[in-house]
């Protein structure tokens, strides 16, 4: 494939109202491309590995920005930047898990432009796929990464189905841990999905990473009061401390009373295409003291069922260690 880096010709729409954006999205259907901060979009398009007839730039729609208190928690506009989320007082006070996750995405420059909606809707990381090779996810009939010689250090341990690419979002595991609700709109109206339902793996839909339907726009994310002010733990391990994707991350929320874990939601990112909720761990630690002893007691559970590829076996001990740190912290 030749090397490109100039945007190809396409229509550009810059609506200022959600309704107009929905109309355009509906009209262009799968030939339209929704863009927020553009941090995932422009690479695809400039490399000409994916194409669209129209770019629908949502960034001028003010109603999709901001953090608002609601009767049942907080609603975050999908176009709110990651920097705004990292710095927002309401979030830092009650949902610091998400603030922390947003604060370690990519780099300061990218966080200033990148949006929450974009971060959770970005495509998977697989260098073969992103290079424009005709793999399963790109509509072809093979996987370049899941072979004995594939360069698959960053790829998935779980839930692979023809495709072994891993999810890249640092905020997605936090949203699953917080039991967030995703608000989706189309010209036909609004529907909501839990964060767990929003993210889909290759067994469900190999060409898409979310449950967004053609013509739909993710307009907001709602965080329920139930998990406000819980005990949180977030940690991202990447090769570099900035401008890098997670090798593994962990987002965990604990309801703790008198040192005992009442409820928890423990989620790992970058180990499969979607955030991986560790319900076996959650059940095992329920009613146990939050601390090192309980952490030690779940050895092997976080990574149970992992299938290592040729070069990503290191993710298994890393995942185990991060989950233990979350419990013992």
């Amino acid at each position: 494939m030749p090397s490109y880096d100039v945007m190809p010709n396409m229509e550009l729409y810059q609506p200022v109202r959600v309704e107009d954006a929905l109309d355009i999205a509906s009209r262009y259907a799968d030939r339209g491309w929704l863009v927020g901060g553009g941090q995932d979009t422009y690479g695809w398009l400039k490399d000409r590995a994916k194409r669209a007839d129209a770019l629908i730039d949502l960034s001028a729609i003010e109603s999709l920005r901001g953090v608002r208190e609601t009767a049942d928690g907080i609603e975050i506009g999908a176009l709110t930047t990651l920097t705004e989320i990292a710095e927002n007082d309401l979030l830092k006070q009650s949902y610091s898990l998400l603030s922390k996750a947003a604060s370690v995405v990519a780099s300061p420059q990218i966080r200033n432009i990148g949006t929450l909606g974009g971060n959770v809707s970005q495509d998977v990381r697989c260098w073969y796929y992103r290079r424009g090779l005709s793999c399963y996810r790109a509509g072809g009939n093979l996987c370049y990464a899941d072979t004995p010689q594939g360069m698959n250090r960053e790829h998935s341990l779980f839930e692979t189905s023809r495709c072994v690419a891993a999810g890249a979002s640092d905020t997605a595991p936090a949203l699953v841990a917080l039991d967030a609700t995703m608000v989706l709109r189309s010209i036909d109206g609004e529907r909501t999905l839990s964060a767990e339902e929003y993210f889909v793996g290759p067994a469900v839909d190999i060409e898409n990473t979310t449950a967004l339907r053609t013509g739909e726009i993710l307009t907001a994310v709602r965080l329920p009061k139930a998990w406000a002010n819980a005990t949180f733990y977030y940690e991202k391990v990447a090769d570099r401390n900035v401008w890098d994707f997670s090798l593994v991350n962990v987002a965990a929320a604990f309801q703790v009373e008198n040192g005992t874990i009442q409820e928890s939601r423990v989620v790992c990112g970058a180990v499969q295409a979607t955030p991986r909720r560790l319900q076996n761990v959650e059940q095992a630690i329920r009613g146990k003291a939050k601390g090192a002893v309980t952490a030690a007691s779940i050895t092997g559970m976080a990574s149970a069922g992992a299938r290592a590829l040729a070069h990503n076996g290191f993710k298994i001990p890393l995942m185990e260690n991060l989950v233990k740190r979350a419990i013992s912290a």
Partner: protein
């Protein structure tokens, strides 16, 4: 007493860089300029069977295509600007398309059909050396030099490609970390008696090692713009060097060097990849000529990965024998280099590092450089030396431990001094004071105090490391050119490039110092050939400070001689009766009797001849001759070739000390402290010295812990063509502060006392960090550069880390 050397100043291009006003090659536009883009190979190896550009050429705005047929043929192992029959790596340029806009040019690329015939390919040198292994070129797999290697960064000349295969037993042995007995090498040397050396050893350490190449990824890609006027080619390029490009680039353009104006005011990084003219310059200049339009060939970030050169990787084996007193008695070293598609390895330079760092009493080196179907390789900051420093440091630590010796003491016993040697030929050095540097470093870093601290802190474990970086740091025989104008100002003409190190300015201080001219009364002429620039070295090999403080010094001495001769001629007496000071030449015995520099310059113009450049020395280079001719009659000319007597290689040596915390849960490293002490003679420009220390430390972290090529062996595709994928360390991955110092003992062979230090700054940091990682893990030797997060986690988890079997380009 020094007035300029050893003092800070602001190089004249700094304000432009701070404000963004300075221009790089890509910033230059020209009326009527058109745009060219490259079509690159999708295959790692193949034959171009046909090119059909019919559809592209029919597009509105497309002006033409340019192929290898438009350039003189380049036989392997040369690196052609455009592939002709064979393509040998993914990303190799095949043709260029020109159009009136960049968008049209890029769309035209999509319309061109290239038919290929696939060929076998290989990305791992040991695979190619294996019986039946694929060869990167139809002619073979190994670069064999038929004449001595030129300076770093210069094109390979006098070489041929051969097909060399090793017995499978040798391949298996090396992969298993043993001596590859029966393997054929293309470079071999020995000094002393190896067997006797090992017989004397109280301990013998034997280890394999692998270092992985990685791209230079210069921030400024090698975009060029060229236009032709009145038979001259005006060429905007991105180079580390200035005058060193003249002859090679003129050859590429098939013109007399006098008809070339090479313009390169600022360069956004080169790191060894832009020392001389690079092949792709031929496209811009010749395509512009054919279209008779100014033409810009913009190189994209991805293309800069492909064609912007990379460090060679190594797979090797070392056996080190150490006497009970700590002296290294014998070293046996094997290096198999991954030469990429250009075949150039740096094994000999790696061996040279070993000789300087440990001064072994007996040593053998055997090396071979193997072509792979990966990107072109070339010099990159301390090529050979720095990656060797990174893998050697933990091995040396193991040797020290084997005889129960402190790691710094071990290095101190083996340190090079002014009577020491470098390389397989055991050539002399101009001076060396490494023991002094180690002593200073131990004090500054607090080696003893830190060794006494607790090692474990929760999941974190402390590691301390020490490393040595080395590179030859100076050349001789280039020319200096200064001019005193009738305005009395000193104009220093510098053919030195501006690769970002500011040594072009630092070296000019030598002329100001010699002529005792205040810096504000000096002006540096540089950056474009028509500024009349002398023959200067390429900006590679850490050489500039040594090389061009000398050239500027000798040019200034010539000017001083002429000042005195003019004064004697006009005011009586003999030239030796005169001296200089306060921008005057005057009688030593009667200071009032003299001429200002302005007056002397005016007299030089009147007198003509040698005084104003109508005549010049016979031994100066033709480039300098043309420069002097261009200046003739404009002032008092000081021009001379550096004939300062002396012998030996000036060494640039740095010792680094590193303290880290390694988190055993995550494999992450935090650098708590880094101290660097240089043995580089007199520090010519302190501020710039500090910048070199910091920058080198950052890239040392990259070499030791992050950066590497990743190729898929199934299809020869590179995985990390982008800058972020290549993982140069960021601000948050490196030490916050670099404690630094210099021994600051003048080199006797430089009038200013200075030697270069650029490259070793990376090697010392990489070595110190690798040493610290090993120390944190109870002396575990990874034998890799880089040692990445996954390797550390795998080691701690008891998994085999994937570099157990030596291989480059793949995990």
């Amino acid at each position: 007493m020094s007035t300029h050397i050893g003092f800070d100043f602001t190089p004249p291009d700094v304000p432009g860089k701070v404000t963004g006003e300075i221009k790089y090659a890509e910033d230059y536009k020209r009326e009527g300029m058109v745009f060219a883009r490259l079509l690159t190979s999708p295959l790692p190896s193949g034959r171009v069977v046909g090119i059909d550009a019919t559809e592209a050429l029919r597009m509105d705005g497309v002006l033409g295509i340019f192929t290898a047929d438009d350039l003189p043929p380049v036989a392997p192992p040369g690196n052609p600007a455009l592939a002709s029959e064979y393509v040998s790596f993914v990303g190799q340029p095949i043709l260029a398309v020109a159009a009136i806009t960049e968008e049209i040019a890029e769309s035209a690329i999509e319309k061109i059909r290239v038919d290929f015939e696939r060929r076998p390919f290989v990305v791992d040198p040991l695979e190619s050396l294996s019986p039946g292994g694929a060869n990167a070129y139809p002619e073979g797999n190994t670069l064999v030099r038929t004449q001595e290697e030129g300076p770093e960064g210069t094109p390979i000349r006098g070489a041929e490609i051969r097909d060399i295969k090793w017995p499978q037993s040798a391949i298996d042995a090396l992969r298993a970390g043993k001596e590859p007995a029966g393997g054929e090498f293309t470079t071999e040397w020995t000094f002393g008696d190896l067997d006797a050396g090992f017989a004397e050893a109280a301990a013998i350490v034997e280890e394999p090692f692998v270092t992985i190449g990685y791209p230079h990824h210069s921030l400024e890609s090698r975009t060029c713009m060229a236009y032709w006027e009145n038979g001259k080619c005006y060429f905007h390029g991105s180079s580390q060097s200035q005058s060193a490009n003249d002859n090679g680039l003129a050859r590429m353009l098939d013109i007399d060097p006098a008809d070339l104006v090479f313009i390169n005011e600022a360069t956004g990084g080169g790191f060894g990849s832009k020392i001389g003219p690079y092949p792709y310059m031929a496209i811009s200049g010749n395509f512009a000529k054919r279209l008779n339009r100014p033409l810009q060939l913009r190189i994209t970030r991805e293309q800069e990965f492909y064609i912007g050169s990379a460090r060679s990787g190594m797979q090797g084996w070392i056996r080190m024998g150490v006497k009970a007193n700590g002296k290294v008695s014998a070293i046996d070293l094997v290096v198999v280099n991954d030469g990429g598609m250009t075949g150039a390895g740096s094994g000999n330079s790696s061996a040279q590092h070993v000789t300087v760092a440990y001064q072994p009493e007996n040593m053998r080196f055997r090396g071979i450089s193997v072509y792979t179907n990966t990107t072109p390789r070339g010099a990159q900051r301390g090529p050979g030396q720095n990656e060797m420093a990174a893998v050697l440091a933990p091995i040396a630590d193991k040797a020290a431990k084997a005889i129960g010796m402190d790691r710094v003491a071990f290095r101190r016993i083996n340190a090079i001094d002014s009577g020491g040697f470098q390389g397989g030929g055991q050539g002399p050095v101009t001076s060396a004071f490494v023991r002094e540097a180690l002593d200073q470093g131990m004090r500054t870093f607090g080696w003893a105090e830190k060794n006494a601290l607790a090692k474990q802190n929760g999941s974190k474990v402390r590691g301390l490391g020490v490393g040595i970086g080395y590179h030859g740091a100076g050349g001789r025989g280039y020319d200096g050119l200064v001019r005193i104008g009738p305005d009395g100002k000193l104009y220093i003409h510098s053919g030195v490039g501006n690769l970002g190190t500011y040594s072009y300015a630092g070296t000019c201080r030598a002329a100001a110092e010699a002529l005792q001219v205040p810096w504000e009364r000096c002006e540096i002429l540089r950056g474009r050939t028509d500024n009349h620039l002398p023959h200067s070295s390429g900006q590679g090999g850490s050489n500039t400070i040594f090389t061009h403080t000398r050239t500027n010094w000798v040019a200034a001495q010539d000017a001083i001689t002429k000042l005195k001769e003019i004064a004697a001629q006009d005011l009586g007496g003999a030239p030796e009766d005169y001296t200089i000071g306060d921008e005057r030449v005057f009688a030593s015995a009667e200071p009032a009797r003299g001429l200002t520099y302005a007056q002397a310059a005016a007299r030089a113009i009147e007198l003509g001849g040698k005084f104003s450049g109508e005549e010049y020395p016979d031994d100066i280079n033709p480039i300098t001759q043309r420069a002097v001719q261009g200046l003739a009659g404009s002032g008092l000319i000081g021009v001379a070739k550096d004939n300062i007597p002396g012998e030996g290689q000036p060494p640039g040596i740095l010792v680094g000390f590193c303290e880290i915390e390694l988190d055993k849960d995550t494999g992450k490293i935090e650098i708590l402290d880094y101290t660097a002490i240089a043995d580089c003679g007199t520090v010519v420009h302190p501020k710039n010295f500090e910048n070199a220390m910091r920058g080198g430390a950052v890239w040392g972290v990259g070499l030791a812990a992050f950066e590497r090529h990743v190729y898929d062996p199934q299809n020869g595709l590179p995985a990390n063509t982008g800058l972020y994928q290549s993982k140069p360390p960021t601000y948050l991955d490196v030490n916050v502060e670099t404690k630094m110092g210099a021994v600051n003992i003048p080199d006797p062979q430089n009038p200013t006392g200075g030697r270069g230090i650029g490259e070793p700054t990376q090697g010392a940091a990489a070595a110190a960090l690798a040493s610290a990682i090993s120390d944190a893990l109870d002396g575990h030797v990874f034998n890799t550069a880089p040692t990445t997060t996954d390797m550390i986690i795998n080691h701690l988890a008891g998994n085999d880390y994937s570099t157990k079997y030596l291989k480059t380009n793949t995990f």
